[in-house]
């Protein structure tokens, strides 16, 4: 089933642009229908999965590395699979309407389908590498989706920001997963199978801690980046630049839940380890509270929803840290239902009224009754009102926290405060626009413009309405009669999170309301206080202005500065690497050369035998070497081009003499010949060469002299201590022995060149040829360029 679903999504993704072109009006429905069938298929698997039977399949991928294309559908995976395959098609339907006529709609649908495939693959993958691959694919496809309105700089910035934050988290995650795999393998190669990892005993061994400790930090860094935990949360509100279908799918039920998913997935293996639990608790609590506070101060529809989403993600992480599997599973489902619904409704509101701010909307219930029903049900569920499923979720969460003992108390307080803010946000975003005085349509606000669609706001056609209505209805059904689908989903998901079946307990709203407990009382109190806060929201915002200003959710503001800083550093490094000029580059290279070879030589400490080296020196030797040395030293001192060429010629001649003196007449003759040629060529071009000038200052020259002197000394020292002291017979002995009998040549040097090492000579001829070709070409182009200025 999972593989089939993946295949269907990929095929649809490929087909989407063509379908869009062929049937522009019905494309959305055509693309959405098969996915809804997939959702039905997954739902059909629910009883089996709830009964503990999991479908799994595996194909070898890179067996040498132990990587497999393995899929497995347990309760947790199934929950997400169903969400992807129900919310996904709603988004496609919505886009088909709201983006109708957009030239890139086909590509948009295709990308959306790719994202769905990636998200589905992520949750059903049973191999860490496969999981990671899908993880990164969700990041990248969401980059493309957020940046869909690519003409707008804000959209481009938000897309890049989301990609970098989640991508950076992805890299930490990769390292963390690899460490876990290595630790679970205990020396016999990493375990990449997720199931194998969860069953591994090795992770809890003290010996594995040096790997598991860092692994936990790295894995959670990845999860936190993806699920927008403070301080990595800032990309998510910015990502609201995306069109509505993207926000509803990615930023409520799927993409941002990937971090929660992975933390839940790994809970059986890592839950109970103090570091794991505490990180989840700490970051979860701070995020939950902080984001809810931010949401209470916003009035832009999508931003309110974004911040409450961040807050809910925090609550989910917190619950995972508590080990409250059932509460986490229930809230996960509840949140997906009501937040998806509200994102669609917010999208419809903005599309119909062209107003983004909740405060400017009111009384729309009469104009768009269906939307109002969906939005109000969604908002009530979000506020945790009886009898919607959001109520069940919040009840279970509070109960779990109350059961957590001494440190549960601060969590309970935080959750209740969060709940108050959430009620405010829910009422503002989901209820307020529909009640009260009807909008004064005769006075269009600054934001609304009277295009031809604006015959006034009204309920959209079914493709856009279906999603919010179904999700809102599901929230209501789940609260009233959880046995229909919510209970098996929650119980099997909780079993996956806990690693074993969890005990039965009431899940319906009624079952949780009665008999009342402390949790119920707190929940109702939060609801009431939230409504009071809603009424006083103007005063609340004024009162909290200083706090907001002080804590002004910083990372986003610093984002640009950080990027600029990165660029500035980069430019500096680029200059550094470039040299910044030839002189600098050569100087740097020489310093590095001296340092590296010098270090190696210092370690080895070769000691040349000076006495032996000085042996056999004749007066003639001395004279020849003197000419060589004097020529070399004179070279930088001579100020004219011809003078320098003459000096170099002298050095060449002295070199030839050395060769002649020590048994290499061929070499000597070649040197003379080549040096003569060089002098001739150099003299010919000398007049056209630039004049020699002394440009560097004295200090630079002294510094360079120091570098150069150490370079020279080092090479000379090495030559003295290494060269010619071999105790091993050189290979040339063979050359000498074989030269006459086998190669028929008496001059061994010549035989080596044309026979033993003929390949060198062949290469050498081609080097000369290539140099000649280069020279000719350069002279040729120069001449013709000169002719046609």
């Amino acid at each position: 089933m999972a593989l089939l679903a993946l295949a269907v999504l990929v095929v649809l993704a490929v087909a989407a642009p063509f379908v869009q072109r062929a049937a522009p009006r019905r494309a959305g429905a055509i693309l959405a229908a098969p996915i809804l069938l997939l959702a039905a298929g997954f739902l059909a698997e629910l009883p089996a999965v709830a009964g503990g039977t999991f479908a799994s399949s595996s194909w070898p991928w890179i067996p040498d590395l132990g990587i497999a294309f393995a899929l497995r559908v347990d309760g947790l995976a199934l929950l997400f699979a169903i969400l992807v395959c129900t919310v996904g098609p709603f988004s496609i339907l919505h886009a088909g309407e709201s983006l109708a006529g957009h030239p890139r709609l086909g590509r948009f649908q295709s990308t959306l389908l790719c994202f769905m495939a990636a998200m589905l693959g992520l949750v059903v993958a049973d191999d860490l590498i496969l999981l990671f691959a899908f993880w990164e694919l969700t990041s990248f496809t969401s980059f493309l989706l957020i940046g869909f309105d690519r003409e707008r700089a804000d959209a481009r910035r938000a897309a890049l920001q989301a990609l970098l934050v989640t991508g950076g988290g992805g890299l930490a995650l990769l390292a963390g997963l690899l460490l876990l795999a290595i630790a679970a393998g205990t020396g016999s190669g990493p375990v990449f199978s997720v199931q194998g990892l969860l069953e591994s005993e090795a992770l809890r061994e003290p010996a594995a801690w040096p790997l598991v400790g860092p692994a936990i930090v790295l894995v959670l860094a990845g999860c936190f980046a993806k699920s927008a935990m403070v301080p990595l949360h800032f990309w998510l509100p910015n990502a609201m630049e995306a069109p509505t279908p993207v926000s509803a799918l990615l930023h409520s039920s799927t993409m941002v839940k990937a971090g929660v998913y992975l933390a839940a997935r790994l809970s059986p293996a890592l839950g109970g380890i103090a570091l794991w639990d505490n990180l989840l608790l700490g970051f979860g609590a701070v995020t939950m509270l902080g984001a809810a506070f931010a949401a209470s101060r916003h009035s832009q529809l999508k931003k309110i929803l974004a911040y409450t989403t961040v807050s809910s993600l925090g609550l989910l992480m917190l619950l995972l840290g508590l080990g409250a599997a059932k509460a986490a599973a229930a809230y996960l489902l509840a949140h997906a239902l009501f937040k998806g619904c509200l994102f669609y409704c917010a999208g419809i509101l903005t599309e119909e009224t062209h107003v983004k701010y909740a405060e400017k909307l009111s009384g729309l219930a009469r104009l768009m009754p269906m939307t109002a029903v969906a939005a109000i049900l969604g908002a009530l569920s979000m506020a945790g009102a009886f009898p919607l499923f959001g109520f069940s979720g919040k009840e279970l969460a509070l109960k779990a926290e109350l059961a957590a003992g001494s440190f549960g108390l601060p969590l309970v307080i935080a959750t209740v405060v969060t709940a108050i803010f959430t009620v405010l946000a829910a009422v503002l975003a989901g209820i307020k626009p529909f009640v009260g005085a009807p909008p004064r349509l005769d006075e269009p606000s600054a934001e609304s413009h009277a295009d031809d669609r604006a015959a006034g706001p009204r309920d959209p056609a079914w493709p856009r309405l279906l999603g919010p209505l179904v999700l809102a209805g599901a929230g209501l059904v789940a609260g009233l009669a959880p046995g229909l689908f919510a209970k098996p989903m929650v119980m099997s998901t909780a079993a996956s999170i806990a690693g074993s079946a969890v005990p039965e307990s009431p899940l319906s709203a009624l079952g949780l309301l009665w008999p009342p407990t402390l949790a119920t009382a707190l929940s109702i109190a939060a609801l009431v206080l939230g409504i009071v806060l809603f009424a006083l929201r103007g005063a609340w915002r004024r009162a909290t202005d200083p706090i907001a200003a002080a804590s002004a959710f910083g990372p986003d503001r610093r984002w640009n500065a950080a990027l600029d800083g990165l660029m500035a550093t980069g430019r500096l490094v680029a200059t550094l690497l470039r040299g910044p000029t030839l002189t600098g580059a050569v100087r740097g290279a020489l310093i590095a050369i001296v340092a590296i070879i010098g270090l190696a030589a210092w370690r080895a400490g070769p000691r040349p035998d000076l006495k032996e080296a000085a042996e056999g020196t004749t007066l003639l030797d001395g004279a020849v070497v003197a000419v060589l040395v004097i020529s070399a030293i004179a070279a930088p001192m001579v100020g004219s081009r011809m003078g320098t060429i003459a000096v170099l010629g002298g050095a060449g001649a002295a070199l030839a003499a050395v060769f002649l003196l020590y048994g290499a007449p061929d070499l000597s003759m070649t040197t003379i010949a080549v040096e003569t040629l060089v002098v001739v060529i150099a003299s010919l071009v000398a007049a056209q060469l630039p004049r020699i000038k002394t440009i560097s200052g004295a200090a630079a020259r002294i510094r360079d002299l120091g570098i150069a002197a150490s370079f020279g000394l080092l090479v000379g020292w090495l030559a003295l201590s290494v060269a010619g002291r071999s105790e091993l017979k050189p290979v040339s002995d063979e050359h000498v022995l074989r030269s006459v009998p086998e190669a028929y040549g008496r001059n061994v040097v010549n035989v080596i060149l044309v026979d033993f090492r003929a390949l060198d000579t062949l290469g050498e001829i081609f080097v000369l040829g290539a140099a000649a070709v280069g020279v000719t070409a350069m002279l040729g182009t120069a001449r013709r360029r000169g002719a046609t200025p």
Binding site: D64, L576, L582, G724, A782
Partner: protein, 531 residues
């Protein structure tokens, strides 16, 4: 003899291209040879994988006193890659308008460059390697300044001077090696350095050579020539250089440090790892800040050389420090295999990105990001090719670069090399940033108001697009079918790490020529004075 073909065929073709009359002849010879070379390389590769490494004792003279040409699995892969890069860039350049002034020189030099690269990959002898390096340099010098634009000349001078410094160090190293142990054959060097019994001295001998290779490979702090010389090049030549030149240096580092200088793997490995970390980090930082596509890509080359070195250094350190023998062999193979897989993927992808820059330039007349925009709309084909290559480069799953990065990171973590692994991961993120910067600026953003309208691609567009598309297809195939690519890389790494077997193959498999026995007659007369 099969193993010599990748060298001899282009050499012969270079001579032909130079000598044949007619203005179009050089271009035709070049195109035919370049498209034929992958077949030659395939032949070598198949032979090597079927029946093990091929050792050719050139002229029938046994190593170590004769020159050995060694085609093992690593060398055969590299020869294949060189041939693919050659074919793609030459096909691409066949779409460019002919220029009678430079065509002959250009064709000759490209062929000489391809021969030299193959020679460098196949050389089993230090001095022979030097000769191929020089041929590579001289032909690339010529190509770099052929068109004679000002910034090409200026960049060319930086390139020439630093390359010649590298050549000097190469000679110094070769001389010192011969002085110390009396041999030049790489395998024999390894054997004799072991006999010498002075590991630290062996490292001293290695240092000038490794630095010489590092200069060619553009390793920090020797990168200066690369950002100076590459960006001004014409698209096809730039792509050819980007794919091949630095990798020859990396190859030489891997080759020599696994067969010749094996006395102190932990020291050399640590040095290589240090350089790898610095190169990765600084290269990518510099790349991120650039605003012109070829400059960005040029700095990325350096940064990615770091990944290849990372695998190499890790393998050496693992060989030296892992106690358990079975774990050591496996882990070292994975590390070195990762480096080789990275080279494999990088050569294809980097060449292609330079070609994409060429395509963009052809359409818009510039590669400055601030003057570009809207390419996703106007040229979806270029956008698709760019995206595939860019994501491969950034190592996003399941593109080709991901597997190489995955294997390297896994080896790094397993070996406990936290710092360099962390740098490798962070470098991946910054690479993604800079690739997406190109994407956002050049492809997504609306074109700037002042930008000239896209030019008609004109004749020759099709072969250009075909060359680039083919490379993108190969990159995609490496990514999706990671299994064969990893099988190749792993096999190559196994060959490299089985040093004793490798040495025995070169030194013992040679023709037995007892002194005094007559061999087949030779053409040249050694008595004749040379030149």
């Amino acid at each position: 003899m099969t193993a010599m073909l990748p060298i001899l065929v282009p050499l012969l073709a270079a001579a032909l291209a130079l000598a044949l009359p007619g203005d179009r002849a050089p271009r035709l010879v070049l195109l035919a040879t370049a498209l034929f070379l992958p077949l030659v390389a395939l032949l070598v590769m198949v032979r090597v994988h079927e029946s093990g490494a091929i050792v050719v004792h050139v002229g029938g003279w046994a190593a170590p006193f004769g020159i050995a040409i060694v085609a093992d699995r690593f060398a055969s892969i590299m020869v294949m890659l060189a041939a693919i890069v050659g074919a793609a860039t030459v096909l691409f350049s066949s779409g460019e308008a002919p220029d009678p002034r430079t065509d002959r020189a250009r064709s000759t030099l490209i062929l000489a460059l391809l021969a030299a690269a193959a020679g460098a990959f196949l050389a089993g002898d230090l001095f022979n390697l030097y000769v191929w390096f020089e041929l590579l340099l001289v032909s690339s010098f010529g190509l770099a300044v052929l068109e004679g634009r000002g910034n090409q000349l200026a960049g060319g001078i930086v390139y020439v001077v630093l390359s010649l410094l590298s050549s000097t160090l190469f000679l110094v190293g070769a001389g010192l090696c011969y002085g110390a142990v009396g041999t030049l054959n790489l395998a024999d060097l390894g054997v004799r350095l072991a006999e010498l019994g002075n590991p630290r001295l062996a490292t001293v001998l290695a240092s000038p050579l490794l630095i010489a290779f590092a200069i060619k490979a553009a390793v920090v702090p020797f990168v200066a020539w690369l950002p100076a010389a590459y960006p001004p090049l014409s698209s096809a030549i730039g792509a050819l250089f980007a794919g091949l030149l630095t990798k020859v240096g990396v190859y030489a580092i891997i080759r020599t440090s696994t067969i010749a200088f094996v006395q102190e793997p932990e020291v050399i490995g640590f040095a290589i790892l240090t350089a790898a970390g610095a190169t990765m980090a600084l290269g990518v930082l510099a790349a991120v800040s650039q605003a012109e596509i070829r400059r960005i890509l040029s700095f990325h080359i350096a940064s990615q050389i770091g990944y290849m070195l990372m695998g190499t250094g890790l393998a050496l350190v693992i060989v030296a420090t892992t106690p358990s023998e079975s774990v050591r062999a496996e882990l070292a193979t994975i590390a070195l295999g990762g480096a080789i897989l990275y080279i494999l993927h990088h050569i294809i992808v980097k060449t292609n990105l330079f070609l994409v820059a060429g395509l963009i330039e052809r359409r818009r007349g510039t590669t400055e990001l601030k003057a570009l925009g809207g390419l996703a709309q106007s040229d979806p084909a270029i956008a698709a090719i760019f995206l595939i290559s860019a994501l491969s480069l950034a190592g996003l799953p399941v593109f080709s670069g991901f597997w190489a990065k995955l294997v390297l990171v896994r080896a790094g973590l397993d070996a406990g090399a936290w710092i360099v692994t962390g740098i490798a991961l962070a470098t991946g993120l910054l690479t993604l940033l800079s690739m997406m910067k190109i994407w956002v600026e050049a492809f997504w953003r609306e074109p700037v108001a002042a930008a000239p309208p896209p030019r008609e691609p004109g004749p020759g567009w099709r072969p250009m697009l075909a060359a680039s598309g083919a490379l993108a297809a190969i990159a995609l195939a490496i990514g999706l079918g990671a299994r064969p690519a990893w099988w190749l890389a792993r096999g190559a790494a196994e060959d490299m790490l089985a040093r004793d077997a490798a040495a025995a193959r070169v030194l013992e498999g040679g023709p037995e020529t007892p002194t005094g026995e007559r061999r087949e007659p030779r053409a040249p007369d050694p008595e004749e004075p040379r030149r």
